[in-house]
Point group: C2
């Protein structure tokens, strides 16, 4: 790919390092920025720098926050339950359902021997300590990890680690998605949805 000058080439190279953005898209963005007012680029550039430099992670729940002490315990939060998620987008997704008012705990990944991620690389120890330190205040840990082999392995590891603590361990339901057709569902999901069937009307539907 040929570029009009090195400045554009350099900007395209940096932008196309972002996930899902190729060189063609990057060039389109660069040419857009060149057409816009200079302040657009300045604002963008400053926002990215500030984001990277000032973002903190809560020491308790590891959620992205503005301080090392986040709002994991606010007045409206149910402090008897912790939802364990892999990363911030999962937390945002669960929070936006409006069905959950409890606390969160971000693991930062899943156990994956292939990628060299072990339990010690994740915030599992701090979860165990958090549950133990609550002295019975935390009554339930919900495991909301992906239904992949890595996710299941991580869930299993956490459940074993929490055995000693007197806490209920649950997992989000696996089953047919709302609006999903039975005939197109895969066998494993359908089988699991029968095994873990719920009492009718229990879910509020």
């Amino acid at each position: 790919m040929e570029f009009p000058n090195e400045l554009i080439e350099e900007a395209v190279r940096e932008i196309s390092k972002l996930p899902g953005i190729g060189k063609k898209t990057a060039l389109r963005l660069v040419l857009h920025l060149l057409k816009e007012r200079e302040s657009t680029t300045e604002d963008l550039s400053a926002a990215l720098l500030r984001l990277r430099k000032e973002t903190k992670y809560c020491q308790t729940c590891h959620i992205i926050s503005h301080s090392i002490d986040c709002t994991c315990r606010t007045i409206n939060t149910d402090v008897s339950v912790i939802c364990v998620v892999v990363d911030t987008p999962d937390m945002l997704a669960i929070r936006s359902t409006g069905q959950y008012k409890g606390m969160f705990h971000v693991l930062g990944g899943v156990i994956s021997p292939i990628e060299g991620v072990g339990p010690e690389d994740l915030h599992i120890d701090s979860l165990i300590k958090r549950v133990e330190a609550s002295a019975g205040e935390i009554k339930e840990v919900i495991l909301a990890l992906s239904a992949t082999m890595e996710g299941d392995t991580t869930s299993f590891y956490i459940s074993r680690k929490l055995e000693a603590a007197n806490v209920k361990i649950s997992s989000i339901a696996r089953g047919i998605p709302v609006g999903g057709e039975l005939e197109y569902a895969d066998e494993v999901t359908l089988g699991r949805s029968i095994i873990t069937r719920t009492v009718y009307n229990q879910g509020g539907f």
Copy 2:
């Protein structure tokens, strides 16, 4: 959409101002940058700022360049022909075909009464002056604008303005794309491809 903190909200707002990037994609990019090393964000931010501040436009052909005097006239350039394009990507596309060795002239847009763009907002005057000042050196002007109403209007306007100058005016061929099926071509394109039919083997195919 809910964000973990204002820094992320601000970065998402700035990124989603870019064309084709919505808030969800912007959030994904932001979370990616937070996971990468700090230098990734610093390099990106610096490249964007430098791009916007240091990019110059050639005073002659209005191509994006590193100086106000670009390489529009290099040793290998055919200075007897000018290709008129709307913007830099069009120029890059034509140059990458390897079929054109002449000079370029970037208009910066097309005449569009609806969007309030008149001939005086484009680099048309400088094109006319450039042709006239060449004192016969420029022998042909190729109009390579889009086959839209605005593009055709602009082509017509330029051709009228160049009537006085002793120069051949041509337009890129409209017709069936290479690899295109006749039965799926629209009537206007097919009709035009018959009217502007070429001598067989002329195009080198």
